[in-house]
Symmetry: none
Subunit: 224 residues, 2 copies
DNA sequence: GGGGATCTTGACGAATCCTTGACACGGCCC
DNA sequence: GGGCCGTGTCAAGGATTCGTCAAGATCCCC
């Protein structure tokens, strides 16, 4: 899902934006000052940043310049000022768009779509490799012996959840909840069926799996 | 030199922009109506377009939509209206930025720089070749056995979205949103119809596609 | 206004995928 | 050894999705 980081010190506006954006299918993170914004952007790189210039701890343009030191994520700047110099400064500091408060939510969403449309091709690949197969999370593809393996949507979701946390034990409830939804927490037979299919498609010897390990009574684990 | 096409029916503003932009090192072409604007953009593809929505011969959004039928050049929209719907419509029609008259020239230049900066790192190979056909994204042409293949605007957009990210799975929602707009996210039958037409025109054997692959339940993928 | 190209819409088998139930196997405790 | 639990395997049905076609509706250029 597309992730958006919203940076603003106005907690009311922050909440309004969170609700609106989530309602439109975005994954939302928030920060109330420049320091935590930079931290958040580093730890969970978003697909887009909405940045208010008026922050309590540091100037918005300074945040932007710091961010631009290591990230090229699209940035949409919010500001209460109508002055032309502010816009010029922000845009030259690396902002991709500028919108003045008060603004319509529809306009914000439209500008956001325009920015994301522009940057859609600049995403980075995430690839996980094992001895037997290779999972390309960015391209949504699995290779085995150079051939790509055909996975159904459910098989892929399940593999993705496991691969995104290598070595980590994922409980049956977590898997069921992520793939089928929270209501399916007891349908553990789904897991058995689909894990068998994944192993048949990916493991060299499906009877003795080496990468998709089952932890009896608890869950499953992906080992590269 | 960076070339900018300015489209406006106000000859005074047109001249002012020409002088200002040239003074800042841009190569400037102008057009006073939608028809000649599209013609100019086709004959001498600019690096950026500044487009006034209020044109004598046709609606500005219509010009934009036509332009988007074959070009992905960044477009900065000018408008005298402050209404939110106008902005949303223009941005969803494919505009990259929107600025309201009257505007400061400094702000215009700053937004222009931001747009050009962003599109600078989005440059990518313009020609993609497969065993069966060749796609020239720059010239908007498809060759098959040396012959020109005739594609409708919609067919082209769909092919373009897929070809711009080779090997990558493009979801049905992404495709629908990029080709038809965000509001068409559920019209998945469009995809089936146009994918069939593309295959008929491009694949050696449309019944067993080798380059335009469908991933059941998720989307489509282009493999060179 | 007319004619051609293009886009939308609906319907239908065919292919694919998900669900469900049944059964076998191994380990563990009584 | 027998019963129980968790797991792996398989196959069939039902549901969903896909490819295809063709007929209107719409747009666009002359």
């Amino acid at each position: 899902m597309t992730s958006v980081l919203v940076v603003d010190d106005d907690t009311y506006l922050l909440r309004a934006l969170r609700i609106t954006l989530q309602a439109h299918g975005y994954d939302v993170a928030t920060a109330a000052d420049g320091r935590s914004a930079l931290l958040a952007a580093q730890q969970h790189p978003p697909a887009l940043v909405i940045l208010d210039l008026g922050l309590p701890d540091m100037d918005g343009s300074a945040v932007l310049r710091k961010l631009r030191g290591w990230s090229s994520v699209p940035v949409l700047v919010l500001s209460a000022r109508h002055g032309s110099e502010d816009k010029v400064e922000a845009l030259d500091a690396g902002a991709d768009d500028y919108i003045t408060k008060p603004f319509g939510l529809e306009e914000l969403l439209a500008r956001l779509r325009a920015l994301l449309r522009r940057s859609a091709d600049t995403e980075q690949p995430v690839v996980v490799t094992t001895e037997a197969f290779t999972v390309d999370l960015g391209k949504r593809r699995v290779l085995r012996d150079g051939q790509d393996v055909r996975l159904t949507p459910t098989e892929w979701k399940m593999l993705e959840v496991l691969v995104r946390s290598p070595e980590k034990l994922v409980t049956q409830q977590q898997l069921l909840s992520e793939v089928w939804g929270p209501a399916y927490a007891k349908e553990t037979n789904y897991l058995r069926v689909y894990m068998a299919q994944l192993r048949r498609k990916l493991e060299p010897d499906a009877a003795t799996p080496r990468h998709l390990i089952t932890e009896a009574g608890i869950g499953y684990r992906f080992v590269p």
